[in-house]
C-alpha cells in the first residue's frame, strides 16, 4: 500500500499489522458542556487586574520585622525608613517580596504533599479511579473547576491541575529572585496568585485522599474521637505519628487491623496526620493535639516509637526522641533528619537496629514497611519499660525542685519567649512559697517551643518544669473532637440560602489555623461559643479543630459534643486537616454557582467578585504561625473573603487594611440600575490582626457585613455587631451608622433609640410619624441591587460598558 504522508484528510486502502490504541472514549454527555470562562489555568498576569482592584481598596500595610536585607552578596543592606538597597529594592517592596516567598513556601508544602499523595494513589488505584463525593455533592471540585477550568472525574484528571500548579510555583518563585519586581503591588498580586494555587493543590490533596481512603464524604454525623494529652492507655505500647501525610500513618492502621491487633496498641497523632488518620479509621485512632504538643508528648515519655513525616514538626525531633530513648522513623524526603536510609533493609533488621538502640532512628520512605516496623518496635520498647516511663516529666519531685531552685530570675527566658511569659515570676513564687500554681498557669499558654531552655544560662529544663507543674490539668485536658467530614454538601448550602436572606443566619465564621494563641487555649472556645450561640455557622479545621476537642466545660463536654456537625445555623463543622480548608473556600464558590448559576469554569474573577460582594463569611486564625497559614489566608483574600488573625499574625508583616474615610474607594457598579454607586465599607479589611479575644469577637461580627445584604440579613448582622460591641467594648461601635441603608436595617429592639442617635449625633433626617429615614445613608436599600467591581462582569450581564 502506498500513501502520501501529509497533513489533512487522506484515504487508506488497506492497513496491515496495525494496532489501534484508543486513549479515551467518552460519551458526548460526559464532556463538560459549560463554556470556558476567560481565565482557565491563569498565569501571573491573567488575574492581575482583579488583584489590583482589591489592592486599591485594601491597601497593603507593612510592619517590618527586619529593616535590612541580606539575601545577596551585595548586602547586607540597610532599608530602614524605606531606603533602597544595593539592588534598588525599597523596604516596602522587600517586605512584599518576603510575603510572596512565604506564600510560595506554603503553596509548595501543600503542593508537595498533594503531588506525593496523588502519584502514590494513582499507582495504587489507577488513573481511572473515580471521584465521587456522595450523592449530595454535585460540584466535586469547586476550586479546580473555577481556577483550572476542568471537571475532574478520576484521579488521573487531577494531574492536569497538579501540573498547572507546579508550573505556577516556578513562575512566582522565580519572580522573587533579586532584580525582579519593582512594585510592591505586583508582588502582592503574585502572592495572591500563588496562594490561589495553594487552594487548588489543597483541594487536589483532600479530594484524592477522601475518595482513595474512603474518608467521610461531606457527612455531618461523623464519629467523635478522643483528643488530648491524657487519652492513651499507658498500659499499652503507644505509636505516635506527627506531621501531615496520612500515607505513612494509614499503613500502620491497615497492618494492625490485618493482624487483628488494633486493640493491643494505642495509635495517636499530632497535627494534620492525626486528623487524617482519624478520618480514615472512623475515629479509632486518637489525637494528642496540635503541634504545640510535640515536646509535651515526647518529654513525658509516652511514645514507644515516633513516626514523623513533613511540615510543622520540630527540627530537633531526633534530638528530643534520643534524649528519651524513643526510636524515630522519619519518612519524608523533606525531613530525612540525617538518618540512614533503611528503604531496602528487611523489616527485621530495621526493628533490631531501633530496639537495640544501635540507631536512634531511620529514614524509611516506604509506607508498607513503616506499617510493620512501627508496631513491632513499639511493642519491643514497651516491654523494656512496661509503661513505667509514661506521663512523667521528672523521675520524682526532688528532680523537679532541683530545677526550680536553679533559677536566678535573670529573665533571659522571658525575653525570648514568644509570649513573654513571666517564667521568672513563676519560678520565684515557687521558690518562695513552694506553690506551683503560677508556673502551672503558664502551661495554659505555653506552646512548648523550647526557646526558654536555649536562653537559660543555668540550662534549666523549663518546659518540663512548666508541664509538671500543671500535670493534673494537662492530663485532664482531653475531650472529643468530631472527625473531619470533608466538603460541605451542595444541599446543605441550598438549605441555608433562605435563612440567610431572611436574616436567620448572620454569617459564617471559619476558625482555622495554628496554635500560637495569644491567650489561654480556652479563649478559642469562648470566642466561637459566642457565635455558635448566636446562630452563626461555625466551621473549623486543623490545629484549631483539635484545640476545640480538648477544651471541656464544667460538664466535661467539648463544644463538639454540644453542637451538631452540620453546616447550618449554630452548627460546628470540622472539615478536617489543613488541606481540607479548600472545602471552606469551595463552599463560598459553590454559593455563586448554586444560587446565581454563575458559571465556574475558568471564571475566577467573576466568582471572587461575587463572593466579595455577597458572601458574609470571615476566616479566623487565632494563633497562626506557619507559611501555609499565610498562603491559605492570602488565598481566601483573593477570593474575596476577609481573615482576622490573632496578634502574632502581625508578624506576617503584611495586612490588607482599607480606610473607611477614603470615600472614593468604596464604590461598586450596580448592574440593575446601570450606575456607579457609593457603598458602605463592608468588609473594610481583608487581613487584620486583633489583640484580644474581645476585639476578635467584635471584628468577626463586623466583617460579616456585605454590600448585598437583604434588609433582614443586615438587620441581624447589625443586631449582633451592636450587641457584641456594647458587651465587649462598652458602647455602640463608632461606625455602625455607615451600615444603615434604611430603617429596616435597624435592630428591632433598639429601633427608636438608634433613630434618635442617627438624628442627634449624625444629623440624619427622620420622619417620626412613619419611623422612616429620609436622609443620611450612603445609599438606599434595593433588593435587586446587583453589585460588581469588575468591568467585564458588568458588561457580561448588562450588555454594555460600565459607566465612568
Amino acid at each position: 500500500m502506498a500513501f502520501e504522508l501529509r497533513e489533512g484528510i487522506f484515504a487508506i486502502d488497506e492497513m496491515r499489522n496495525v494496532s489501534i490504541k484508543i486513549g479515551k472514549v467518552i460519551e458526548e454527555a460526559e464532556e463538560w458542556a459549560e463554556e470556558m470562562g476567560p481565565t482557565p489555568k491563569p498565569g501571573i498576569i491573567e488575574l492581575r487586574k482583579w488583584d489590583m482592584k482589591l489592592l486599591e481598596r485594601y491597601e497593603p500595610f507593612y510592619a517590618p520585622v527586619q529593616d535590612f536585607c541580606n539575601l545577596c552578596t551585595m548586602g547586607p543592606c540597610d532599608l530602614s525608613q524605606n531606603k533602597k538597597g544595593a539592588c534598588g529594592i525599597d523596604l516596602k517592596t522587600a517586605k512584599a517580596r518576603l510575603v510572596t516567598i512565604a506564600c510560595c513556601i506554603g503553596a509548595a508544602s501543600h503542593g508537595g504533599h498533594a503531588r506525593h499523595l496523588l502519584d502514590h494513589l494513582i499507582e495504587e488505584l489507577g488513573e481511572d479511579y473515580p471521584i465521587d463525593l456522595g450523592g449530595n455533592v454535585n460540584v466535586e471540585a469547586p476550586i479546580i473547576r473555577t481556577v483550572v477550568g476542568i471537571r475532574p472525574r478520576t484521579l488521573g484528571d487531577l494531574r492536569e491541575a497538579m501540573e498547572w500548579a507546579e508550573r505556577e510555583l516556578m513562575r512566582v518563585l522565580h519572580a522573587t529572585h533579586i532584580g525582579n519586581e519593582e512594585s510592591y503591588l505586583d508582588y502582592e498580586s503574585k502572592a495572591m496568585h500563588i496562594s490561589m494555587v495553594d487552594h487548588v493543590v489543597m483541594e487536589i490533596a483532600d479530594i484524592a485522599q477522601i475518595v482513595a481512603y474512603n474518608m467521610p464524604k461531606a457527612e455531618p454525623n461523623v464519629p467523635l474521637t478522643d483528643t488530648g494529652f491524657g487519652i492513651v492507655d499507658k498500659n499499652k505500647p503507644v505509636i505516635v505519628v506527627v506531621g501531615h501525610n496520612v500515607l505513612y500513618s494509614k499503613p500502620i492502621l491497615d497492618y494492625l487491623e490485618e493482624m487483628g491487633r488494633l486493640d493491643d496498641f494505642e495509635i495517636a497523632g499530632l497535627c494534620c496526620t492525626a486528623h487524617d488518620m482519624t478520618r480514615v479509621s472512623g475515629g479509632r485512632a486518637k489525637i494528642f493535639g496540635p503541634i504545640s504538643y510535640q515536646l509535651r508528648v515526647i518529654r513525658s515519655g509516652i511514645p514507644d516509637v515516633m513516626i514523623s513525616d513533613e511540615q510543622c514538626i520540630r527540627a530537633d525531633l531526633l534530638q528530643a526522641c534520643k534524649a528519651m530513648g524513643i526510636p524515630l522513623i522519619a519518612t519524608s524526603d523533606a525531613a530525612a533528619r540525617g538518618l540512614p536510609d533503611a528503604s531496602d533493609w528487611p523489616v527485621e533488621k530495621i526493628v533490631n537496629a531501633l530496639v537495640s538502640g544501635e540507631l536512634p532512628g531511620v529514614f524509611l520512605p516506604v509506607p508498607e514497611k513503616v506499617g510493620q516496623v512501627a508496631p513491632l518496635v513499639a511493642e519491643a520498647i514497651f516491654k523494656k519499660h512496661g509503661g513505667n516511663r509514661k506521663y512523667r516529666f521528672f523521675a520524682n519531685d526532688e528532680e523537679l525542685w532541683n530545677e526550680i531552685n536553679k533559677c536566678t530570675q535573670c529573665m533571659s527566658c522571658v525575653f525570648t519567649c514568644p509570649h513573654n511569659l513571666r517564667i521568672d515570676q513563676g519560678m520565684a513564687h515557687a521558690q518562695k512559697t513552694k506553690d506551683l500554681s503560677k508556673l502551672a498557669k503558664l502551661e495554659e499558654q505555653c506552646i512548648a517551643c523550647g526557646k526558654c531552655e536555649q536562653a537559660c544560662p543555668k540550662n534549666i529544663k523549663i518546659i518540663n518544669v512548666i508541664m509538671a507543674s500543671n500535670f493534673d490539668r494537662l492530663y485532664n485536658k482531653k475531650g472529643k473532637m468530631r472527625v473531619g467530614r470533608g466538603p460541605i454538601q451542595d444541599t446543605e448550602i441550598r438549605n441555608v440560602g433562605q435563612p440567610i436572606v431572611m436574616g436567620q443566619i448572620p454569617g459564617v465564621i471559619a476558625a482555622v489555623g495554628c496554635v500560637n494563641y495569644p491567650d489561654e487555649a480556652k479563649s478559642l472556645r469562648e470566642i466561637l461559643e459566642e457565635f455558635v450561640k448566636r446562630r452563626y455557622i461555625v466551621v473549623t479545621s486543623g490545629c484549631h479543630a483539635m484545640t476545640l476537642g480538648m477544651i471541656t466545660d464544667e460538664e466535661g463536654q467539648t463544644l463538639y459534643e454540644k453542637t451538631p456537625g452540620d453546616f447550618d445555623a449554630g452548627g460546628l463543622a470540622n472539615v478536617g486537616s489543613c488541606v481540607a480548608n479548600s472545602h471552606i473556600a469551595g463552599a463560598a464558590i459553590k454559593i455563586a454557582n448554586i444560587f446565581a448559576m454563575r458559571p465556574l469554569r475558568g471564571n475566577y474573577a467573576e466568582i471572587a467578585d461575587y463572593v466579595l460582594n455577597r458572601v458574609g463569611a470571615v476566616g479566623f486564625s487565632w494563633g497562626p504561625y506557619s507559611h501555609k497559614a499565610a498562603a491559605i489566608a492570602t488565598g481566601f483574600n483573593r477570593l474575596g473573603v476577609p481573615v482576622v488573625v490573632g496578634p502574632h499574625g502581625a508578624k506576617y508583616r503584611r495586612a490588607y487594611l482599607g480606610k473607611y474615610f477614603k470615600k472614593e474607594k468604596w464604590w461598586v457598579y450596580d448592574i440593575k440600575t446601570r450606575s456607579k454607586v457609593p457603598i458602605e465599607p463592608a468588609p473594610d479589611a481583608l487581613l487584620v490582626a486583633v489583640e484580644t479575644k474581645e476585639e476578635a469577637i467584635v471584628q468577626l461580627a463586623r466583617l460579616c457585613i456585605r454590600p448585598n445584604d437583604t434588609s433582614l440579613g443586615r438587620q441581624i448582622k447589625l443586631t449582633h455587631y451592636l450587641e457584641l460591641s456594647q458587651k465587649y467594648l462598652g458602647k455602640l461601635p463608632d461606625d455602625w451608622h455607615l451600615f444603615v441603608r434604611s430603617e429596616a436595617d435597624l435592630p428591632l429592639k433598639m429601633k427608636d433609640e438608634l433613630l434618635h442617635i442617627l438624628e442627634s449625633e449624625y444629623g440624619w433626617k427622620i420622619d417620626w410619624d412613619k419611623k422612616k429615614i429620609l436622609e443620611g445613608p450612603i445609599r438606599k436599600y434595593d433588593a435587586g441591587f446587583n453589585p460588581t467591581i469588575v468591568e467585564e462582569v458588568y458588561e457580561k450581564y448588562a450588555g454594555e460598558k460600565p459607566p465612568q
Partner: protein
C-alpha cells in the same frame, strides 16, 4: 365568619392591668436566644404544653376598640405559681391600624413565636393551640416577676417590626376555665375559618399577587411571584405573608404585583405579572406561567425544597426533595439536577418548587397536574399523600417500585398510568399527551449478526454508548463504539500473525490521527 370581639372578663376573676413599656426589662432581648432550650430541670413553670390547654391568637379590631400597649392578665401571675408545675395559658392580641385586616392576623400571629423566643429565659414552641412555653429559673432569678412584662416586651417588638400595627393590646389568661372556654368558643372557630379561607382562596379571587426578590441578594435575576395557588419555593412565604410584608414596606423586596389581564387561565399567565417579571429580572425573561412545567416556567434561586424533572422516556414528571441522597430513575441525584436550574434562569425540563405547592389545586395544571406525575421518593409521597387524588395514589412510583427507567416503565404500564395512554388534563378535560409510542427496534441486532458471521467470538449487542475499557488489539474481541460519520470507504484489517481467524471490518469510519511517528525500518506501519 367568626366574629371578632374583645374578650369579656367574667365576674370575680383575678385581673391585673398594666400599661406602657417600662424603662427596662428584667431580661435580655436578642435573636441570639432564639435557639434557647429550657430543660425540665431548669424550668420554673410550664405554660400550655402537652398537659395543659393553651393557645395564641391575634385578632384585628377597629382602632377605637384597642388600648395601645396595655396588657390585662386574667388568672394567677408568675409569683403565684408553684415551681415545676404546668399551667394553662392563652395569649390574645388585639391589633388595629388602617392597613390591618383579617388576612394579616395569621401572619402577625406567627411572629409571636419568633419574638417571644428572643426573650432570654423564655422558650416558645409550636403555634396556635399547640403552644408550649417554659420559663427558666434563671429568668426568675434575674428579676422576671410578671407575665405582663413578657406581654409588653412582645408588643414592643411587634410594633417595631410591623409599623402598620398602629395599636396593640394584649390579654393573657392563666385561668383554666376561661382558657378552655375561649379556646373552644373563640380560637378554634377562627383557626378553622382561616384554614378554610386559605383552602378556598384562589388566584382568581384576588386582585394582586406578591413578589419576593429577597434572593436577588444571591441570584440577581430571580423573581418569585407568590399567588394564593402558588406559595414560595423556599417554603417561607405564602400569599398572606407577602401581603403583610408589602404593607410593611411597599418599596421593599415584597411588593404587590397587580395581576393585570389574564392571558392564560390554565397556565396562569397575567399581563401584570409578565411586566413585573421583565422589570425585576432585569430583562432576563418577560413571561411566566405560574402553573406550567414546560412553558415559561417560574424561575428559582436555588433554595427550592423539591425539584421536578421531566423523563422523556416515559413522558412523565418526577419529583425529588432536597435531602434525598440517591439517584432518581433518570440516574441523577437532587444535587446534580438542582445544578441544572436555579440562578434565576428559566430552564425547561427542571422546576424548583416548595413542598406547599403540592397542596395547590392548580399544581402544574397546565401539564396535567398529578396525572403527569410518575415518580417521587416514598418519604415525600407520604408527606403529601392526602393531596394526591385518590385515583393516582397507587399509580405514582416510589423508589420501592422503580429505581431505573426500565423498572419505571414496567411499573407505569402495570398500573396503567395516564402517561402511558395519554394524559387528560383534569382542569379542562383536554388530552395533552399522546401516550407512549411503539418503540423503534434498534438496528443493533442486524449489525451484531453480521459481525457474528465474520468474527469468531461474537459479543452480545451492547447499547452503542458503552465506553471501551481496553485499548483495542487485533487479538481480542472488541466492541466498536458507534461512530456516526460516513466518510470512508470500507477498510479491512487483517489479523495479526498468531491468533487465527479474527477479522475486523471497519465500516463507515472516520479516523483522526493526532500524531504519526515514522520509525526506522523495524516496523512496517502502513507502509509497503
Amino acid at each position: 365568619m367568626a366574629e371578632r370581639k374583645r374578650v369579656e372578663v367574667p365576674e370575680g376573676v383575678k385581673k391585673k392591668e398594666v400599661s406602657g413599656v417600662p424603662e427596662s426589662f428584667p431580661f435580655e432581648i436578642s435573636p441570639m436566644f432564639e435557639g434557647e432550650r429550657v430543660r425540665k430541670g431548669d424550668m420554673y413553670v410550664e405554660l400550655g404544653g402537652p398537659s395543659q390547654p393553651g393557645f395564641e391568637l391575634v385578632i384585628a379590631l377597629p382602632k377605637d376598640q384597642v388600648e395601645d400597649m396595655k396588657v390585662t392578665l386574667i388568672g394567677p401571675d408568675l409569683d403565684e405559681m408553684e415551681e415545676g408545675k404546668a399551667y394553662p395559658y392563652a395569649m390574645i392580641y388585639y391589633v388595629a391600624g388602617d392597613q390591618v385586616d383579617n388576612d394579616l392576623e395569621p401572619v402577625i400571629e406567627r411572629r409571636n413565636h419568633d419574638f417571644q423566643n428572643y426573650i432570654e429565659g423564655y422558650m416558645h414552641l409550636n403555634q396556635r393551640y399547640d403552644i408550649w412555653i417554659r420559663i427558666s429559673k434563671g429568668a426568675i432569678k434575674k428579676g422576671l416577676k410578671s407575665l405582663t412584662e413578657i406581654a409588653l416586651a412582645t408588643m414592643f417588638l411587634f410594633k417595631n417590626e410591623l409599623p402598620f400595627i398602629e395599636k396593640i393590646e394584649a390579654v393573657y389568661i392563666t385561668d383554666k376555665e376561661l382558657v378552655e372556654k375561649l379556646l373552644n368558643e373563640m380560637a378554634m372557630p377562627i383557626y378553622e375559618e382561616r384554614d378554610a379561607r386559605v383552602e378556598q382562596l384562589h388566584d382568581e379571587d384576588v386582585e394582586e399577587f406578591y413578589s419576593c426578590t429577597l434572593c436577588q441578594s444571591f441570584a440577581p435575576t430571580n423573581v418569585c411571584v407568590i399567588s394564593p395557588d402558588r406559595p414560595s419555593l423556599c417554603g417561607a412565604i405564602t400569599w398572606f405573608d407577602g401581603r403583610a410584608a408589602a404593607r410593611v414596606d411597599p418599596e421593599g423586596p415584597n411588593r404587590a404585583v397587580p395581576k393585570g389581564e389574564c392571558i392564560d387561565p390554565i397556565g396562569g399567565e397575567y399581563t401584570g405579572v409578565n411586566e413585573f417579571a421583565k422589570e425585576e429580572s432585569g430583562g432576563e425573561y418577560d413571561r411566566i406561567k405560574l402553573h406550567s412545567f414546560f412553558e415559561y416556567p417560574h424561575t428559582s434561586c436555588g433554595c427550592f425544597e423539591v425539584i421536578g424533572f421531566y423523563m422523556p422516556e416515559v413522558d412523565g414528571i418526577g419529583w425529588v426533595h432536597r435531602g434525598y441522597p440517591d439517584p432518581a430513575p433518570n440516574g441523577l441525584t437532587f444535587s446534580t439536577m438542582a445544578g441544572q436550574t436555579g440562578g434565576g434562569k428559566q430552564v425547561v425540563g427542571f422546576l424548583g418548587i416548595g413542598i406547599a405547592y403540592f397542596r395547590s389545586k392548580k399544581f402544574i395544571q397546565a401539564d396535567g397536574g398529578w396525572y403527569r406525575v410518575v415518580w417521587m421518593p416514598k418519604e415525600l409521597k407520604e408527606r403529601v399523600l392526602k393531596y394526591i387524588p385518590e385515583d393516582m395514589r397507587d399509580k405514582i412510583a416510589t423508589e420501592e417500585d422503580a429505581k431505573t427507567i426500565e423498572e419505571l416503565k414496567e411499573f407505569l404500564k402495570k398500573v396503567n398510568h395516564p402517561v402511558v395512554t395519554g394524559v387528560v388534563r383534569p382542569v379542562d378535560g383536554k388530552k395533552i399527551t399522546e401516550g407512549w409510542k411503539e418503540e423503534e427496534e434498534e438496528k443493533v441486532e442486524e449489525v451484531v449478526e453480521e459481525k457474528a458471521e465474520e468474527a469468531a467470538p461474537a459479543e452480545a449487542a451492547q447499547p452503542a454508548a458503552q465506553p471501551v475499557q481496553q485499548p483495542m488489539m487485533p487479538m481480542q474481541p472488541v466492541q466498536m463504539p458507534a461512530i456516526p460519520q460516513i466518510q470512508m470507504p470500507q477498510i479491512q484489517l487483517p489479523a495479526a500473525g498468531q491468533q487465527p481467524g479474527i477479522k475486523l471490518i471497519i465500516k463507515d469510519a472516520k479516523i483522526i490521527i493526532d500524531k504519526v511517528i515514522i520509525r526506522g525500518k523495524e516496523e512496517k506501519k502502513g507502509g509497503k
